[in-house]
């Protein structure tokens, strides 16, 4: 039995400290489970260690050499932008791949990846939703979309740029009526929301943060308008619902991401989660963050499995894992249907083809899946 290490980056003290409990809470049990049920069989044991990167690229950069020296990891579990920023230049020379939990960013969309996102970019996910909603709406005209974004972070800008690109390339499908810029904690959005609704927006996309969702929701409420909001994983229905006080107020709004939605339904993913709870001491709650952690860890585990199969359990290297990631398809069953069939390619850090997204909503006050297996369209680079 050969022991290898996995480095787990987490934001304990930075801006996303609140979701970390579920995210890393899900990673660890997956590895324990894998060690016990898969690793044992193939002769591989994995260790894992958490590092606090404060969601700060400088911190990641200063941590990384130490991680390499101390842990000599064969794979890294990353969180978000700063990890990509600080490590995308180094991983190729260090020959260690990184698997991300969040969606990808436009800035990391480069060929020959060492970084792998289980999900495409936020814009891809949004586009999948728009296509779905347009079909659901019926009719022929493009779906009129308003975007509430912010320049507080380049990641936010990236999101709306991607959607704008999609709209520009597919004028028959999506029309962006306006991009409204706000601060991280908007003072009041009534006038802005009023304006976009009068421009005929059929849906409002907010993938920045919950504060913006809450402010928009309040604006809609005070205007007496019913326009659905589409959110993403980090500011989704549950978070926004909590932030506004009651998830019932999010009735009719949506969240979209290329993973399973953490609904109450007895899905395979849910069963896997409960198994981890009962057998491997998983403490995280069944949230989007936990799903991200599960998906991410599973991708990593399956890649290691594939690599072990190829090069033998005692010869696994970061490079071999990357090879395995690029050459094998990780089937939906391998990830307990948390992800669809995942096939990475040399084109970019996320699967450019064959991805599917789930859409969740609040209906009659209950969180539930609105659609699953929604195909993610392809978008040209922006």
């Amino acid at each position: 039995q050969t022991t290898y290490n996995v480095a787990s980056l987490a934001d304990f003290t930075g801006p996303y400290a609140d979701v970390m409990k579920d995210l890393i809470g899900a990673r660890r049990p997956v590895i324990d489970w894998w060690n016990a049920e898969v690793g044992k069989k193939i002769g591989v044991k994995l260790g894992i260690k958490d590092y606090d990167h404060r969601y700060d690229a400088a911190q990641v950069a200063s941590l990384w050499p130490g991680i390499k020296a101390e842990l000599n990891p064969i794979i890294v579990l990353g969180v978000g932008g700063p990890d990509v920023a600080a490590l995308q230049g180094r991983l190729p020379s260090d020959k260690i791949p990184m698997v991300m939990s969040t969606a990808a960013y436009g800035f990391a969309w480069k060929p020959d990846p060492w970084i792998f996102n289980q999900r495409p970019t936020y814009s891809h996910e949004a586009a999948a939703f728009f296509d779905w909603l347009r079909q659901k709406r019926g009719g022929s005209g493009p779906l009129k979309v308003a975007i509430i974004s912010s320049e507080a972070s380049p990641a936010y800008v990236d999101q709306h740029k991607g959607v704008q690109r999609y709209a520009a390339d597919n004028p028959d499908k999506v029309e962006v009526v306006e991009v409204v810029f706000t601060e991280v904690q908007p003072t009041d959005l009534t006038t802005q929301v009023n304006r976009v609704t009068r421009k005929g927006a059929e849906v409002i996309m907010i993938m920045t943060n919950t504060a913006a969702v809450v402010a928009t929701k309040r604006a809609l409420q005070s205007l007496g308008k019913q326009v659905p909001i589409i959110m993403s994983s980090h500011n989704g229905l549950a978070e926004s619902g909590r932030a506004i006080g009651d998830v019932k107020q999010m009735e009719g709004d949506y969240e979209v991401y290329a993973m399973a939605a953490p609904t109450d339904a007895k899905t395979p993913g849910r069963e896997f989660f409960e198994m981890l709870q009962s057998k491997y001491g998983l403490k995280a709650k069944w949230t989007v963050s936990a799903v991200q952690g599960l998906g991410q860890a599973l991708i990593a585990m399956r890649a290691i499995e594939a690599a072990a199969k190829k090069v033998g359990p005692d010869k696994i290297t970061g490079e071999a894992i990357r090879e395995a990631l690029l050459s094998t398809t990780i089937s939906a069953d391998d990830t307990f249907k948390i992800l669809g069939n995942t096939k990475f390619s040399n084109e970019g850090p996320f699967p450019t083809q064959g991805l599917v997204a789930s859409i969740a909503t609040i209906k009659d006050g209950k969180y539930m899946e609105a659609a699953a297996g929604v195909p993610v369209p392809s978008i040209n680079k922006w």
């Binding site: 810029f181 706000t182 009534t190 919950t210 005070s222 205007l223 932030a243």
Partner: protein
């Protein structure tokens, strides 16, 4: 046209909110000559106190909010006790630097005491907007604006017309002279922070009523900074006008220029206005002129 009026009114009200936050800067400055970099953090802290009293402990608004003000005042006092009482008479620069340490500390405290989660802030003012014809005014901002104007003129009266206000002005002018006249610098600074904390809490209530709250909301301090600079650090009532100017211009720019530029020019515009006006009036519109004598 009606749009324009709407943006104008809303901008003005948001501007008044900035003015209220900026008043926190000004009040602390006026009573102690300390420029408080931690103003945004004070707002968030005040917000969390309100959240804690009302949402977490479940006290009714009529009890929770006054209690929150008391707690904020105590916190202000605590800040003075712990940080500034030892520094009385030290250079003002040192005190200003302390506020930077305070900023970092309060952030940590908020994380420990209230956690990093986004909290739902209680609905203090009714959500229904005031609707006049086609003009639609958010109620919390409207009530807040009215409160701000009253508080602004009240404080202005206090600092400019009362003896206690004069005493504090003396402290802000020159700590040593104030001491030599038997004025307690410590008490003045304590008062400044109490007032600053209470005002920040009030600001938080108006800002956050019915919205969400986590420590990132402290950015409002940054947004209010140009207002304070524009008015001049000594001008309490002047902050109202500066707030209106900044708010209205920002509102209109966001509405009409952002879509053209395709970027958030509305957020940088206050800084540009501030620079322009400072070039014309180097100590803000109503700030004390620097006296240069040899």
């Amino acid at each position: 046209m009606i749009d324009f009026v709407n943006y104008f009114i809303n901008g003005a009200l948001v501007g008044l909110l900035y003015a209220l936050i900026a008043m926190g800067f000004v009040v602390i400055y006026r009573a102690s000559k300390v420029f408080n970099f931690a103003q945004g953090e004070l707002v968030v802290f005040g917000g969390f106190i309100v959240w804690w009293m009302v949402a977490s402990l479940g006290l009714p608004l009529s009890i929770g909010i006054p209690l929150a003000f008391v707690a904020a005042a105590l916190f202000g006092l605590l800040v003075e006790r712990v940080f500034f009482s030892r520094l009385a008479g030290e250079s003002v620069f040192a005190m200003v630097m302390v506020t930077i340490g305070l900023l970092i500390l309060i952030r940590g405290l908020i994380l420990v005491l209230f956690g990093p989660q986004v909290r739902s802030f209680p609905i203090i003012f009714p959500l229904q907007p005031v609707i006049i014809g086609e003009i639609l005014i958010p109620r919390s901002l409207l009530i807040g604006g009215a409160i701000t104007v009253i508080v602004g003129f009240g404080l202005s009266w206090f600092f400019n017309r009362t003896r206690a206000g004069l005493r504090m002005t003396a402290v802000a002018e020159d700590h040593q002279v104030a001491l030599s006249m038997g004025i307690s610098v410590k008490r003045s600074i304590a008062f400044a922070w109490i007032l600053g904390a209470v005002l920040s809490t009030l600001g938080a209530i108006i800002f956050l009523s019915g919205k969400s709250l986590n420590f990132l909301a402290s950015d409002i301090g940054l947004a209010a900074l140009p207002v304070a600079l524009l008015a001049g650090f000594e001008a309490i009532a002047g902050v109202l006008l500066a707030g209106l100017i900044v708010g209205i211009i920002q509102g209109l720019v966001t509405a009409y220029l952002d879509p053209i530029v395709g970027g958030a020019i509305g957020t940088v515009f206050p800084f540009i206005i501030m620079l322009l006006i400072l070039f014309i009036r180097p100590t803000g519109m109503f700030g004390w002129k620097t006296i240069e004598r040899v």
